[in-house]
Symmetry: C2
Subunit: 892 residues, 2 copies
Amino acid sequence: MVQWVYKFGDGEVQGTAAMRDLLGGKGANLAEMANLGLSVPPGFTITTELCAAYYQHDRTVPDALVTQVAAGMRHIESAVDAKFGDAARPLLVSVRSGARASMPGMMDTVLNLGLNDKTVEGLARQSGDPRFAYDSYRRFIQMYCDVVLGVEHQAFEDLLEYHKEDQGYLLDTDMAAADWQSLIEAYKQMVRARLGQPFPQAVEAQLWGAVKAVFDSWMNNRAITYRKLHDIPESWGTAVNVQAMVFGNMGEGCATGVAFTRNPSTGVNEVYGEFLFNAQGEDVVAGIRTPHALTEAARAANGSTLPSMEAAMPKLFGELTDIFARLEGHYRDMQDIEFTVQQGKLWMLQTRGGKRTAKAALKIAVDMVAEGLIDEPEALRRVDANALEQLLHPALDPAAPREVIARGLPASPGAAAGKVVFHADEAEDLAAKGEAVILVRTETSPEDIHGMHAARGILTSRGGMTSHAAVVARGMGRPCITGASELRIDEGKACFTVGGVTIKQGERLTIDGSRGEIIRGDVPTIEPELSDEFGTLMAWADKIRRLRVRANAETPADASTARNFGAEGIGLCRTEHMFFEPDRIVAVREMILADDTIGRRAALAKLLPMQRNDFVELFRIMAGLPVTIRLLDPPLHEFLPHADAEIAEVAQASGASFEKLRSRVAQLHENNPMLGHRGCRLGISYPEIYEMQARAIFEAAAAVGAERDETVVAEIMVPLAATRRELDILKALIDRVADEVAGESGAELRYLVGTMIELPRAALRARDIAGVAEFFSFGTNDLTQTTFGISRDDAASFLDTYERQGILPHNPFASLDIDGVGELIELACERGRAGRADLKLGICGEHGGDPASIRFFEACGLDYISCSPYRVPIARLAAAQARLDSGGGDLD
Amino acid sequence: MVQWVYKFGDGEVQGTAAMRDLLGGKGANLAEMANLGLSVPPGFTITTELCAAYYQHDRTVPDALVTQVAAGMRHIESAVDAKFGDAARPLLVSVRSGARASMPGMMDTVLNLGLNDKTVEGLARQSGDPRFAYDSYRRFIQMYCDVVLGVEHQAFEDLLEYHKEDQGYLLDTDMAAADWQSLIEAYKQMVRARLGQPFPQAVEAQLWGAVKAVFDSWMNNRAITYRKLHDIPESWGTAVNVQAMVFGNMGEGCATGVAFTRNPSTGVNEVYGEFLFNAQGEDVVAGIRTPHALTEAARAANGSTLPSMEAAMPKLFGELTDIFARLEGHYRDMQDIEFTVQQGKLWMLQTRGGKRTAKAALKIAVDMVAEGLIDEPEALRRVDANALEQLLHPALDPAAPREVIARGLPASPGAAAGKVVFHADEAEDLAAKGEAVILVRTETSPEDIHGMHAARGILTSRGGMTSHAAVVARGMGRPCITGASELRIDEGKACFTVGGVTIKQGERLTIDGSRGEIIRGDVPTIEPELSDEFGTLMAWADKIRRLRVRANAETPADASTARNFGAEGIGLCRTEHMFFEPDRIVAVREMILADDTIGRRAALAKLLPMQRNDFVELFRIMAGLPVTIRLLDPPLHEFLPHADAEIAEVAQASGASFEKLRSRVAQLHENNPMLGHRGCRLGISYPEIYEMQARAIFEAAAAVGAERDETVVAEIMVPLAATRRELDILKALIDRVADEVAGESGAELRYLVGTMIELPRAALRARDIAGVAEFFSFGTNDLTQTTFGISRDDAASFLDTYERQGILPHNPFASLDIDGVGELIELACERGRAGRADLKLGICGEHGGDPASIRFFEACGLDYISCSPYRVPIARLAAAQARLDSGGGDLD
């Protein structure tokens, strides 16, 4: 016989905190508190396994459960000396959800269950407070009808309002017992009219209605959405907790409150919380009455005149804070607690790990190490690496009002406000005048880079979380929203329309890149400030992690940011990003459109000194650290001029005819540029391009080496190889150029030649390829695109559907698809090492900054990960966590 | 000591026919003929291994070779009782190339080597024919200078012409000994003037010059091109054969000839060949003198008055035909033979398997089985499956002159002539009036299908061997040339220009899709006629092969063609190809542009009856055979209207506003449609589309099943799956529709649901996927695109460079990349079978018709291959050959 029901309270406890998967968080912690000897109202938990069985059997419960629940009810009855449905000593219970992971407010709860026309009388007699009893009954009817029977809350509120108006009352507290009684009659009539049957009087029917409603709420839309946002599997299910009611609203000497054992916003070690006299828990949460502070200090700080618990109930307050210390000591974490005082007795209703801001998480973790509660590895585990992002980007003031006019994808976190512009050039012009601007585009292309750099934030109506706009914005640390598909952007008229609102160029707009919210006007923002605890935790992470962390960076600004955030080198310098500056793009276009090698060489000669200077700067900033430079990768057509004026500009610079250039532009068009003439295919077709780049790298290395009197070791990376032979040819080319530069400069040149592994074929043939390549860097963006056959630029149109239908557990461009793409990476690591024992292995796709992916990269034994500069601290922490998870990271 | 030199002749033979890899074809066969006791001029072969060593050591030969060659020369000297460089009894030798595979005319040969100013006198005395001796000497100078010293042939021909003019001679035979002597002086002066040194008199220097020249010729451009065209690895190298000269030009009783043991054009079992009295072999090949027929029958058939060998040298002719029979009996194949008669003695200079047309190959193979020379499996091996294509498509008359104005890629074989048109609609209009048209486009899209169908041939300036134009043309059996990049097509002005020639709409053009030649005007064509031998061989192939052969076909015409060619079902019916008919495209566009499900369903309702009729026709034509129908696959935007007029047409049909439709068209644009919203992603996003298609299939199956009183088993194929869950969802949808149709029609429906494996991830997750899919069909086109990260539409711009540089051994879209894509297929087969033991496995990409790929598919143990209708016979033969190669196919 499967045990579906676990009892707790009154000295009989069947669960523990360790049984969270089975009992849910709430159930496991109630059992644990009971084990600790705290006063917990007796009850029982129906397991999460029953939830799975419930859905497997078409939302029905097994017969065995009925028996077990009956036994559970008898346990409660005997513990509190009351009887369920008994008119004299009625037992009332609460029925609450409780999943493995906390999903606050997502699922349903029913309180005061067991009240009916008869038991309410018993409650009135027993409590000596008819007003309390009828108020409880009407609350129960209202809640049960809302949760179980589908009669909306508002219908009841309306009746209450009518009654108060009729009687000339202002507040609920004006309602006397008789008022509640008459309101209950009105409620019951309305329910019968709505449902065609009376409100259920049978307490057993009430109980099963509530239990099933809780299980049903696992699949309500709110819960589904919450699970998706928090990566909680549907299969986990929820438990149901049935527990004797205790009452914080039974008159004098009653109270109810919620508390955190430390400040969840700042992390300061102080009691933090609120309570109400003579109230039920829901009243505190609902915010109808102004709550009291728990401590005198907090009361004083708020300027409140309402008495604190510390002052009003000093003995109970002392008891409560003792419990806080015991729970923190037991759980070794900050706790989020609910309690009720019924006629002078303190009852613990819930404890759980408290949610906290990133800032608080950092401080609590570091403080607890100092307090001896946890050790450094545990502290590292306690901070959600992704949440650090909150600390690294400016954020909107959460207290400020916001007029959200539309939503898009939260593509790059942080918030920004400024004047709307629709063109990159305008963004640059206005920014040069000191204006903050938000660049709004249908989608961005590499030609918009200068405008994106100049803008405070970027908003596009197309593209996904890894579209050009998203990737570049994250790299630059610019807040960005993409795929805001409701926007109708008219770039010609310089305005966009959404939901009847038209925003013209120059109007103020705020974007919240963390939430994907597009807000009209300004919302005040808060600047980030990195705490001492941040530095301490990062230092611990650096001691423990095995993976090196580098950054993807091309510009001196990005490289400096990366180094400040602790990057240990550059893992990906995308040389093509250096080609979009206005003074370069014409020469680049001249090169692409040249008919022959001579024409290309002439244009490349113009680019050489610029490219060399780029590398000189990077080598200087990254002094002593490795710099991996990727040779030209993107399809040439990305650089092509499209407007006639641009073509004319190139014609003038190169002396070629306009007509000829225009026809060459058309000739270079590709249907699927992602799979086109790009990457090392360019180096094979036009070796002079890679020759120029190799020369620029070696000349820069020689120059900076001479300055610093040490050898700069450049790592040269060939993109998009599919075969070993491509690398044979290109390595020979690079070696030849190195010999030439060494001969000319007299410098000793040391360098590595490696390749990106970003095509399935390259992964499969890794052993061959490692015969030439001295390092691999996994380009997980392209590898994901080709393994899945999904273009990240175009995926927005269906990836959302895919996530909603559970086809993909998450966006594979944000977090690595371990089952598919991951297998290719493992296989390439294994085969690559078979081909070259000391092969250096890294990753430089978007996934380099994703903690879940980093855990996988640690397991693969990669040497380093490389991510955008603003994600470097996240990657450092995640790498340490991954190391700890893998059983490594001992400090001894 | 490595043996570099193998002797033959005069009773000492070190080689055999089996040593072809080491000795080359010519050397191995000379040794073999010597082993058979035939008269072979003595000589020796320098191995192909030496050629490799020669290139590895910077074109130098090892010292050991010098010693071994000297020993070889002594062997020849003692065999013929002459001495190399001896003035009295000079030994003359020929130096010839001889690679493992025959490369006729690609490499160099030197004859009469060993002649100088002294030895020519000895030859004159010995032969008693000074004219012969001096003629030989001048031939040697001319040939040696051309091959070894780089003085072109024409310079010598000019001097000969001047001399003849001076003397008033018409023919070479007018030249007396003194004339040749004086010409030799003129030759030597010219050589000294050109080279600054005299013609080499030292015979050893002559010999080594010639040997090295033969090795060098392995890397000449002709040879490199030939190897590329015939897939011959560079690493094989050539052997060098040094052999005593025999003379067919030593006056009376001398002759030389070439012969095939059967007719290489028709395959008829008759002696076929030509000879000349008093001539060297090169004279026959050069065609300066009109050759004589070997047989009386041939002489009579040609209406020649020149005596045949049969008549003029009956004894030698008898000896020769006896040898033919012996050689055929020995080699069990038709032989290509060179012989020389020196003063009444017959010498065999060469034998090798003769090249033959596909028609001849078929007849010879079938005849030889009847003659008991070979068995059926051997006959199957003897016919090059690819060459069958010659028999299946119309071909240009090879005898007719052709004005080739440009070349492109030979994308679909066969030839066609017609009036040039530049638009699909015009092609259709003119064809409807009975005109033959050639459709010329920059590239084709699915909207051109009706025009391609109407045209006799298709020519594009863009795209590769597997571009849309190429694939569709091959499927339709239309000749096609793609990627003719020199063409400047101006579709607006309806003309194209190439190399100064402008071809306007309506002008006549011929294209040779087998050779990629674009020819001005008309060239007469020859219709194919399938012989009895074709049927016999196909029947043998069908007995032996294990792989079933299906066709890719959508239209009734294609399906009928396929069935006539022996297809055993349809392996791929691309339903989207059914959507381009003019009466359907508007409804399709209406569906795509609909804003919501209701709009889409309205449009789909119009398409349902049309689609159902399509399937009814296919089920009827393929009665009793399986039909695999792929649900909608291509990116929707392929169907989008682009011109405003087309959008207006859809607006009218659907009642939606023009502006709204235009903005939806823009919204649906994708950057990389190949990786976009296509395949089963459409079925997930818009389930109503697949519902309609499933309904059409089941209703058609029910209708045809009722007609024939048997159950039609449809195979429904879901394209582009990357995950199991996609199939879970779509299989549930298909099953639901099947239940509905079964309920409505009362028919019993049987069907399979399977998927294409065309993404690396699908291959990796094959075990999971096979949990749902009842069959896999490998979509090797897409799988190659994603594994390589190469779009076949865009690959033309660099794939050629890749092949030339040896990065890819062949176009991976034409012949499967076994190392990369192949590994994924093997892995998917293994994992798929682990997931479902009776999983049916097939392939329906372009590679299904490629013999090399078919060999791999046989090795993988696939159940069937599917190819374009015109390649079905090729696939049947190739499948039998693959079965034989794998050691299977026993008939017992």
